[in-house]
């Protein structure tokens, strides 16, 4: 179906032209400039005015490769190609947890972590919140979201409202269900723990980036008998969640879950690219190990820049 023309945007977000333009913009912004400028970079002042940090080339090349993979798979998905995406363990438990809370008539608690809205983990958590809100509204049940960041709170309110709307139950939305606790780390942990002890939620979702307070919240939830689903990209907190929660989305599963639940072809395309990139990383690691055993120097960058190796 053709989307209406939008004068605010020169190209429609997600369109083929938009993907190509963005890729070109990234390359143009980061690409090395003319050799004339490079040649003039023999003074300190001129060196500071460089248009490309050559020492970051080893980061730039894999980024461009990965961006190409993401763009390519998004275009493939847009072209109607059917992409098989792996099943993510633990996601079925989300339905189970919401159903259990509905049957017991007890609240559902969602914590989007402690980070701000500019962190990808928070974006992933908020995406999952939208799906949880939709599912719970379809069961005639509401979700309580406890926030540490006011911007995240504002976004979460919109996302929950939209989730209820998609489920056909906008009347369920109460602004006081998605509320601000405090910016203090342990103040937030105390607020969440207090909420759990007072209202006894049947299902707790801890999704996002967490710090030392993770165990306080997860152990309190465990003590109140709630079914708990956690997901974080914070490797230091993963052992605590794995110990205290029923299901834990480990690292990149948090990002994958947000896409997997949405079930939208374009988003699944990027998930496929993520998997392909992981395969490439595995191949490179195996090559590195083999080269190590054979005594071959694989540090091309250090060799080229004369840094040794």
């Amino acid at each position: 179906m053709r989307r209406p023309y939008n004068p605010l945007m020169l190209v429609r977000p997600g369109s083929r032209r938009h993907v190509l333009l963005m890729a070109a913009a990234i390359l143009l912004a980061a690409a090395p400039r003319a050799t004339g400028e490079e040649a003039a970079a023999d003074t300190t002042a001129a060196a500071a005015r460089r248009w490309f940090a050559t020492e970051r080339l080893p980061t730039f090349v894999p980024l461009v490769l990965f961006a190409s993979l993401v763009g390519g798979f998004i275009l493939a998905a847009r072209g109607g190609r059917n992409l098989f995406v792996r099943r993510i363990a633990g996601l079925d438990a989300i339905d189970e947890a919401i159903g259990r809370a509905t049957e017991m008539g007890r609240p559902i608690l969602f914590s989007p972590g402690l980070d701000e809205m500019d962190q990808p983990a928070t974006v992933a958590a908020i995406n999952i919140l939208g799906q949880i809100a939709e599912k719970s509204a379809s069961y005639d049940h509401r979700v309580s979201v406890l926030n540490r960041d006011p911007i995240v709170m504002s976004v979460a309110q919109d996302v929950v409202r939209s989730g209820y709307l998609r489920a056909g139950r906008p009347d369920l939305f109460r602004e006081e269900d998605v509320f601000y606790v405090t910016y203090s780390q342990f103040g937030y942990a105390a607020g969440v723990a207090g909420f759990m002890v007072r209202t006894r939620p049947a299902a707790n979702f801890f999704l996002g980036h967490f710090y030392a307070e993770s165990l306080v919240m997860a152990e309190t939830g465990q003590a109140t008998g709630a079914i708990q689903i956690a997901g974080t990209d914070s490797d230091a907190q993963l052992p605590f969640f794995i110990t205290a929660c029923d299901y834990t989305l480990i690292g990149e599963e948090l990002y994958a879950a947000s896409v997997y639940l949405a079930r939208e072809p374009l988003l699944l395309g990027s998930l496929k690219a993520q998997d392909m990139a992981k395969l490439l990383v595995i191949i490179f690691i195996l090559l590195g190990v083999a080269a190590g055993f054979l005594g071959v120097n694989m540090d091309f960058w250090a060799a080229a820049s004369g840094a040794g190796g």
Binding site: G14, A25, F52, P120, V159, R166, Y183, G251, S258, K278
Partner: protein, 220 residues
């Protein structure tokens, strides 16, 4: 329509800029980057009032409706208002504001942080119950690492093949080889997930954070 497309346009423009600035060390770009960071602080300061308003409304309603736990809401409201008034009338460098921070808030935070020790103990008890092969491996590795991290770890150990294997050495091997390998595996996956999410936002494919689906449903 503006409510839908303008935030996406902002996300795309600033997303591309923040990505590009990492690779472009030019002073113009650095100046732009610092300006964006300043604006972020300003926007955050404004949104903090949203948070405070939400807090007052949430606890105020609970107090008015005399919900269960309304007493705690009363304490939260009084504490919040008292702290703000102390800051306004006596300044934040000293006086009652400082006293409230040092004598009330800081000890409460320290208390909660200290409680982590008990939570770690209860979580460890559950994790170390050797009911399966995995739990047994975890228990053995955990015991070796804990013993290897105390002074006795250097003394405890065994000799084999003419070499001395102390618990401290074995603990270091567990942390540096299998543990670090697993950790790096997780971190590589996280890195790819982060880049993928960021690219989806920059490309305008990801809109759920705005309360919108790709099909255009939702929105606010």
């Amino acid at each position: 329509m503006i409510q839908r497309t303008l935030p996406i346009a902002f996300a795309i423009v600033f997303g591309v800029f923040m990505l590009a600035q990492y690779f472009v060390p030019h002073p113009w770009v650095a100046r732009g980057y610092n300006t964006v960071l300043d604006w972020k602080q300003i926007v955050f300061g404004c949104t903090l009032t949203l948070g405070v308003f939400s807090l007052l409304r949430f606890h105020g309603r609970k107090l008015l409706r005399r919900d269960p736990g309304a007493l705690f809401s009363g304490v939260a409201l009084v504490s919040c208002i008292a702290t703000v008034l102390a800051g306004i009338f006596f300044g934040i460098e000293g006086g009652p504001y400082r006293w409230l921070f040092e004598r009330v808030q800081a000890p409460m935070q320290a208390t909660l942080f200290s409680m982590l020790a008990f939570f770690v103990a209860s979580a460890s008890y559950r994790a170390f119950r050797a009911r399966s092969a995995h739990a047994t491996i975890l228990l053995v590795a955990g015991c070796i690492v804990m013993l290897g991290r105390v002074p006795a770890g250097d003394i405890l150990g065994f000799d084999a093949g003419g070499a001395r294997y102390s618990l401290a050495g074995i603990a270091s091997w567990i942390l540096d080889i299998p543990n670090l390998a697993a950790k790096r595996g997780i971190l590589i996956g996280v890195g790819l997930g982060m880049i993928s999410t960021s690219l989806r936002i920059i490309l305008g494919v990801e809109r759920a954070y705005l309360g919108q689906s790709r099909s255009g449903g939702g929105g606010s």
